[in-house]
Symmetry: C2
Subunit: 640 residues, 2 copies
């Protein structure tokens, strides 16, 4: 691939096709060529023209209005508020200068957009911004708001970053032998601290950078980290791109330390993953501090991550290095979760990394995509790939949970459910809301502690990532189950104490999901010696977590409190309602592979307990005749 | 392992045990603590005392005389020449200040050392140097002389280098999880460009750094190099140690580029390997220039290598990094060739890399050692491990060669034998000398072109590395076969042309052994179209070499001469006399493993043609039940 100066090529093309283009600037912005014009006509026909130029150039082109032709944002906002009728109920107005759009969030969008009104055309004419009217999100998310504001603040820095990235992406590739390698840095033959390096003779791409779900991570710094100090990823500035499959901390938790220790390149993820990851990372720091530990990074490193984040939609292909193109596909696991498709070289090689994957339609999401344009090597998670890892159906899981709750309520107890804030919480909320509405459980307060409500609000902010039924019940029918009055947010220590002391029947959903810290520990400590109460596991409990120990039947647990070790006998009932998992069970993983298109030549098994991954690789080999191995952390395999 | 200040510990020990020690300096010199003293008594009892201190300290200790108590070298040499009787025939005198020894090379050592003479005691008394009297080497090696002189020149630099290395070796090891990895960088699933990285959480050790034996290496820079630009070994300054198994260019050929591109750490090898490697590398540059190519390094980089070389004897164990100890064992392949034993951590893990290995007594060497104190992973070469790779015995090989020569002579032709300067040359010389002396071939000149004589002289300089029979015939019986008048050194272009034009029966041994350049090409071009002559292969021909093509029966070959391609029909006879190989054949490799002590847990197969390595790994697994794999270049396996 020789060096091409796309900027001057683009300029020449515009001059040839549209001599009166009034272009004021052409520049790289990451993989895209952005063109600023004062020509309003050109701008209004931007999509067609961009497509035409992009075809010639073989590079994505985006045409933007030159800021000088638009009404300044502050004035434009005032203009819009004056034009739009009060009944429309404007909730928010914000500008996206990159597209020349102004987004108007309103309670009744139809009032603005109805054919009989001239609101839209008047806004256009007056402000020169293109209005996009959307329904105001049904729930308020502080995270979404803050991330959006932060990105606006650092716009200038981001512009420079994207420009530099664009230049880098257009450098010629190295001559000589080409090759593709995968290095296992974490989450191989184990669950937690996911990190996999895909490298070529031109690129180094790190996929995920998580932390171990263990109760010991804070005691030894870096003990819960992937093998990030090995030469393959050192210095971090030698990495070309980082890709995040989804927001859970075992995939995203240590991403900010890359920025703390020198990385300043792009991080690719979906928009909801960005917001959820920032939320969970911020909470991780908070919890660590609350428990007297030192987190390995600070808020400012999360902000650095946000500043370098480039969001992609599902099925949208982007050049992320000189020789690699990335496409995200729905992975069905949590909001915004993605499988990663890497197309290397010009048709040279294709790798798919499943990320955490759910190959079943859930209450929240569509099943994972398993059709790709090409794939030679497929890396699959195997959390539930063991011999006996068959999970119940979603319906069975609900019935089990309802039964557990009813039995607990009958004996005057309360129910504590440790949950990941993201994913399982929302599924359980949907089940509880439905069960109480239909009288399957008596009405009782459902307390949500530890960011669950905030995480839920982020779901509502990205309805396009939910399955159709849920999307419609949230957005169209206005029957948003998450807004049911049964749900109560716990925000203070006092509230928590009241709940712990109460003799009423209650349900508490609290983080963390594997009981390695978080508010769930307070309820657990308060209720652990009372056999009326029940602790219900609904999600995967990793090796080394307190959750795993208790789930396995520990009759006594040791906790550290204020530097002291305390021993607690476990007297509350301990139950598991399986079937809520965001992971495919063994049957689903096999179905995924069986129906995968195209069939990969090689399968790498990761993200599973030690020997399970090896067994599952053997099973794949015997069942499908596909070469399959489970790498060990610190191993490198050559794919091409 | 915590930090220990061995220097002050040593000082304290000396002060306690020998208060009147008159120590003037204590310092690190690589892994050794060196102690300088003015106390002549202490110095004369140095071996006992050093052993005692070393036991307490658990570190090697060397006691040296303070230079101020010795007669200066120049004066001492004069003194010695005056004392020693002329009949002893002094050939050389040189000083080793590190040990306080003066080495006196004489034709008749016994005249100096005889009990009846007081020569030794007079030298000691007058000069304070300890005389070591050795027989003057029977052949003059410019290389040995030049290397020795160079090392004397850079003594001060070496002292600093060894001091800094000593400090580094005494740094504490990193806390945290320990692991051992092997990364295949070259010579895996192929023959050539050997390079293997052994890394731990504390060390990075590169074993070998060779070049491909191909005719195309000079056309693309780095095309014949191992994968040295990968992050695992970049920057080169991140390497802690380099180990060289033997001098052949497919193992040593690119070692100087490490120094060109920033490495400045130690290189461990045997003394003959050092001299042979310098000779072959220097010749490689010369040949490359002669053929109009640019070598990837210059003589000064070879000198840097020499400056950083630490020589070890077989069976001598040395700390080479904070957590790794190295021991060389005889590999039987060529002069000084070694198998590498790495002892990692305190009893944590042991790796043996065979290097090129001959598990049979040859005319030159004892068979390779296959007994080690411990070994968990064994990496074996597999050059002749293919299904049908059974070699003839040394005796059969000789008979075949004699027969080929006689047939060629009978039809009035000459014999051209492409050889590696080191190893095969000397074996073939021994066979030819014996055959002519015993009338099995008629007397005819044997021309040696391309450093063969020089390489042979290096053999004579290190008799302790040869097998007993040869050592005695060279040194004791004075029947040095290498000095037979049948051998004639070719030194000029004119000589070469005369030989090419002559109609006499002649035998030419010329480098390179795989016909990828070197003087052999001149004879080949002169004789190729004459069916009276014979080309005889006696060594391994790697994939991609001209030798391989011709050996496989090419009837026409294309050569590049002065930038032009010339086509030559092959009309001279082409034969192979197998059984001269310095490599174990399949039977010998299996015998090596079968009798290896202890039995390794895992075997890695390298240094063989593509699929052969994979097949041999399978054979090992089925035959011995030992896990065996053939890594691909660029792959990393975790051993611990």
């Amino acid at each position: 691939m020789a060096f091409r100066d796309y900027v001057s090529e683009a300029k020449a093309l515009f001059d040839k096709l549209l001599p009166d283009n009034q272009i004021t600037e052409i520049d790289y912005e990451g993989p895209t060529i952005v063109v600023y014009t004062k020509n309003i006509d050109l701008f209004s026909r931007r999509d067609d023209i961009a497509r035409q130029i992009a075809q010639e150039l073989r590079r994505r082109v985006m045409i933007r209005p030159d800021p000088s032709i638009m009404e300044p944002e502050k004035e434009a906002e005032e203009t819009i508020r004056n034009i739009v009728p009060a009944e429309a109920g404007i909730q928010d107005i914000y500008f996206e200068p990159d597209t020349g759009e102004v987004i108007i969030e309103a309670d009744e969008p139809s009032i603005i957009t109805s054919r009989s009104s001239d609101v839209i055309s008047r806004i256009k004419e007056k402000t020169k911004w293109s209005p996009r009217v959307v329904r105001a999100p049904p729930m308020y998310s502080r995270t979404v708001k803050e991330v959006r504001e932060f990105l606006r603040e650092v716009k200038a820095e981001r512009k420079k970053f994207l420009h530099d990235l664009g230049l880098k992406l257009n450098q010629p590739t190295m001559p000589g032998e080409t090759w593709v390698r995968i290095t296992a840095l974490g989450g191989h033959r184990e669950v937690g601290r996911s990190a996999t390096l895909v490298s070529t003779n031109n690129s180094k791409i790190l996929v995920d950078c998580g932390m171990l779900n263990t109760n010991e991570i804070d005691e030894q710094p870096w003990a819960g980290a992937p093998y990030l100090y090995v030469p393959e990823v050192q210095p971090f500035s030698s990495l070309d791109a980082v890709v995040l499959t989804h927001a859970h901390l075992d995939h995203s938790g240590l991403l900010p330390i890359l920025f703390k220790y020198g990385y300043d390149g792009p991080v690719y993820m979906t928009a909801p993953t960005r917001d959820l990851a920032a939320l969970l990372q911020q909470d991780y720091i908070k919890v660590a501090h609350a428990e007297g530990h030192k987190a390995p990074y600070e808020s400012k490193h999360i902000r650095e991550m946000l500043k370098h984040t480039i969001v992609l939609k599902y099925n949208e292909t982007t050049d992320i290095t000189r020789d690699v193109r990335l496409t995200f596909y729905n992975a069905g696991h949590i909001l915004g979760s993605a499988s990663v498709h890497l197309h290397i070289g010009e048709g040279l090689y294709n790798v798919v990394l499943s990320g955490d994957v759910k190959f079943e339609r859930t209450w929240l999401f569509n099943p994972a995509n398993n059709r790709f344009p090409r794939v030679e090597t497929f890396m699959t998670e195997s959390t539930y790939a063991g011999r006996d890892d068959y999970q119940h159906s979603r319906q069975e899981a609900s019935n089990t949970l309802i039964d557990i709750i009813n039995r607990t309520f009958d004996r005057g107890g309360s129910v504590l459910i440790p949950v990941f804030a993201v994913g399982r919480s929302q599924e359980v909320m949907l089940v509880l809301e439905d069960a109480m509405r239909n009288g399957k459980i008596k009405n009782a307060p459902v307390y949500l502690d530890g960011m669950i409500m905030e995480a839920t609000a982020i779901h509502a902010a990205y309805p396009e990532y939910l399955n159709k039924t849920l999307r419609e019940s949230i957005m169209v029918k206005k029957e948003n189950p998450f807004l049911s009055p049964i749900f109560k947010r716990v925000e203070t220590k006092e509230q928590r104490e009241d709940i712990c002391d109460s003799d009423e029947n209650q349900i508490v959903l609290a983080t963390s999901g594997m009981m390695n810290g978080g508010p769930v520990m307070e309820y657990f400590k308060a209720w652990v010696d009372d056999s009326r109460h029940t602790l219900v596991f609904v999600g995967y409990q990793a090796e080394g977590t307190l959750g795993r120990k208790i789930q396995r039947g520990a009759t006594e647990v040791t906790l550290t409190e204020g530097g002291k070790q305390i021993k607690l006998p476990v007297r509350m009932a301990v139950e598991t309602a399986d079937g809520f998992s965001g992971h495919s069970d063994k049957r689903q993983l096999l179905a995924y592979i069986a129906t995968m298109q195209p069939k990969p030549h090689r399968i790498l098994v990761n993200h599973g307990d030690g020997e399970k991954t090896v067994e599952f690789a053997k099973l794949i080999k015997s069942r499908f005749g596909i070469e399959a191995v489970a790498l060990r952390n610190l191993e490198t395999i050559r794919l091409y």
